[in-house]
C-alpha cells in the first residue's frame, strides 16, 4: 500500500513554473526535497493521482490554488519553541534593545504568529512592549488572518506553558490568554503592537529598519542561493548593531554577509550586525 506516487524533478519544475506564471508565487529557489514531499502530500490529500490532474486543478480553480498554497507552505509553529533561545533573548538581547526609544522587530515568515506572541510576552515582562513595534510578515495571507485573530487551540497550551517556564517565565502563563471552549485567545494588549503584512522573502525588498530580526526555521525551506539573498536582505534591514536570530539548525556560514555579523550565541543562533 504505497502511499507515495513519485514526482520527477522535471514534473516538479513544471508545477513551480505554472504557479509562478499564473499566480506570481516563486518557489523556484525552495529546497527541493521538502517541496517535493509537500506537493505529493497535497496531491494525496486532494485525491489527485497524476501531475496532469494537479496542473489542471491549478490552472482552472483559484480556490484550489488557495488551498494548495496553504498546504504547500509549512505553517507549523509553536509558542516559546526552543526555550533556551528565549532565555538568551531575555538575558543577552533585550537589555541592549532597552536603550532604543522605539524598538522595531521583524518576524519574517511568522506563520500563524505564535513566535510573535511569545516575543510580545517577553517584551511585556521586560517592560518594553509599549515602545516596541513587532512587524510580522508571511507569504501566505491565510496565516496572517489567523495571526490577526490570535486564536490558538487549547490543547497546545500545556506544551506552550512548559516551554514558557523552561524559558524562565515567572508569571502564570494563563494570564496571557483567555480560554473559550477548546481555544484560547491571546489577550489584546499583547497583540496591539503587532503589525501584520504580506511579504515574500523570495522577491520582496527592505521595507523598514529593525533592531532585531527573527527568522527561525524559514531558511531551511530555501536553497543556498535564496538563503544568500535573504541574509543580504536581513543585513540591509538591520540597523548597525542590530540582532539577527535564525533557527538552531540553520547556518549563516555559507552566506556572503557572514563576515558582517558577530556571534552572540552560537547554540541559539543569535548574531549581531557589525557597525
Amino acid at each position: 500500500m504505497s502511499q507515495h506516487p513519485v514526482l520527477t524533478a522535471e514534473e516538479l519544475a513544471k508545477i513551480i513554473h505554472l504557479i509562478h506564471q499564473q499566480y506570481g508565487y516563486d518557489f523556484s529557489n525552495y529546497a527541493r526535497a521538502s517541496l517535493e514531499r509537500r506537493v505529493l502530500r497535497c496531491m494525496q490529500q486532494a485525491g489527485l493521482k497524476t501531475t496532469y490532474e494537479l496542473k489542471y486543478s491549478l490552472i482552472n480553480d483559484k480556490s484550489f490554488f488557495d488551498w494548495f498554497l496553504q498546504s504547500l507552505t509549512v505553517n507549523v509553529t509553536e509558542m516559546f519553541r526552543d526555550p533556551i533561545f528565549y532565555r538568551d533573548l531575555r538575558e543577552k538581547v533585550l537589555p541592549k534593545l532597552a536603550t532604543y526609544p522605539v524598538i522595531k522587530i521583524w518576524h519574517a515568515g511568522c506563520a500563524t504568529g505564535e513566535e510573535v506572541f511569545s516575543m510580545a510576552i517577553l517584551l511585556a515582562e521586560a517592560g518594553l512592549l509599549e515602545r516596541s513595534r513587532l512587524y510580522a510578515t508571511d507569504l501566505n495571507p491565510a496565516n496572517l488572518e489567523q495571526a490577526r485573530q490570535g486564536i490558538i487551540p487549547l490543547q497546545q497550551m500545556k506544551a506552550y506553558t512548559d516551554n514558557y517556564m523552561q524559558a524562565g517565565g515567572k508569571n502564570a502563563f494563563s494570564s496571557y490568554y483567555t480560554a473559550l471552549y477548546d481555544h484560547v485567545i491571546i489577550r489584546k494588549e499583547f497583540r496591539t503592537n503587532i503589525v501584520l503584512a504580506q511579504h515574500n522573502l523570495a522577491v520582496d525588498q527592505v521595507f523598514n529598519e529593525f533592531q532585531l530580526i527573527c527568522c527561525r526555521n524559514v531558511l531551511i525551506y530555501f536553497d543556498r542561493e535564496l538563503q544568500n539573498r535573504v541574509f543580504q536582505l536581513f543585513h540591509d534591514s538591520l540597523s548597525p548593531l542590530g540582532y539577527l536570530a535564525i533557527g538552531t539548525k540553520e547556518s549563516i556560514q555559507t552566506a556572503d554577509v557572514r563576515t558582517q555579523f558577530e556571534t552572540i550565541s552560537l547554540p541559539t543562533r543569535i548574531y549581531r550586525r557589525k557597525q
Binding site: A31, R38, V74, L219, R224, Q227, G247, K249, S251, T254
Partner: protein, 196 residues
C-alpha cells in the same frame, strides 16, 4: 573528503527501546569506516536532548554529529537526525531539514528520512528498523525496497517494543529479520574499515 557516490549508506530508525541496540551497533563499527550512517531516533521535542553526546562517548574516534541544514553528507560519519526536525537529503547529497507536521506523531519521522534516502541513494541504501512502539518506518521501508535497497528489521522477539519492526515486517514481506548480533555482523560487510 571522499564523495559518497561509491559507498554504502546505512539508515537506522529506532524508537522506544532502540538506544541500547544503537549503542551496541555503533560500538561494533570499524573506526574509521567507509560509508555513512544516518540515525533517526524518536525523542521528546522541547527538552534539550544530549543524545548525540551519548553516542559520541562510545568511542572518541567515532565521528557523530547532528547535521545542520545544507551540510554535505560525508563518508565516515554517523549523523543523528536533530530533535524536532524531519531530516531529508537533497539530490546534491546535502542534508535538508523540515519542520512540517509530525508523521506518526513523530518529528523526526523515520518514514520521512527513509523515503528521502531511497530517492537519492536508491540501491545503495541499507535501512534498518529497530525496536519501537508505533508504526513509523513501515512505509519508508517499502520505498527503500522498491528502489532496490536492502531492508532489515530487528527480530521482534529481541526488541523491547516489538510493534514497530512487526508492523514493517507485515507490510514488507521482502525485509530481512535479524537479531542485533546479526545486524552488527551485517554492517561490518557494508561499512568497511579504512587503513589509518
Amino acid at each position: 573528503m571522499k564523495a559518497t557516490h561509491d559507498i554504502g549508506i546505512v539508515v537506522i530508525g529506532g524508537s522506544a527501546g532502540s538506544i541500547p541496540v544503537i549503542t551496541d551497533v555503533l560500538q561494533s563499527l570499524p573506526k574509521p569506516f567507509s560509508g555513512t550512517v544516518i540515525l533517526v531516533v524518536h525523542r521528546s521535542k522541547n527538552t534539550p536532548s544530549e543524545l548525540y553526546k551519548l553516542f559520541l562517548n562510545i568511542d572518541e574516534s567515532l565521528l557523530v554529529c547532528e547535521p545542520n541544514d545544507k551540510d554535505p553528507v560525508r563518508s565516515g560519519y554517523v549523523y543523528l537526525a536533530p530533535q524536532n526536525y524531519h531530516l531529508l537529503i537533497e539530490s546534491d547529497e546535502t542534508f535538508s531539514l523540515d519542520y512540517s507536521e509530525p508523521v506518526h506523531y513523530s518529528r523526526p519521522s523515520i518514514d520521512v528520512t527513509f523515503e528521502s534516502v531511497a530517492r537519492v541513494y536508491t540501491n545503495r541504501v541499507t535501512a534498518i528498523l529497530l525496536s519501537g512502539a508505533n508504526r513509523d518506518g513501515a512505509d519508508g521501508l517499502e520505498r527503500i525496497l522498491l528502489t532496490g535497497g536492502a531492508g532489515i528489521i530487528q527480530e521482534p522477539a529481541t526488541a523491547d517494543y516489538p510493534a514497530m519492526p512487526q508492523a514493517a515486517a507485515e507490510q514488507n514481506p521482502g525485509v530481512r529479520i535479524l537479531t542485533p548480533d546479526q545486524i552488527k555482523t551485517y554492517l561490518q560487510t557494508i561499512l568497511q574499515p579504512i587503513e589509518k
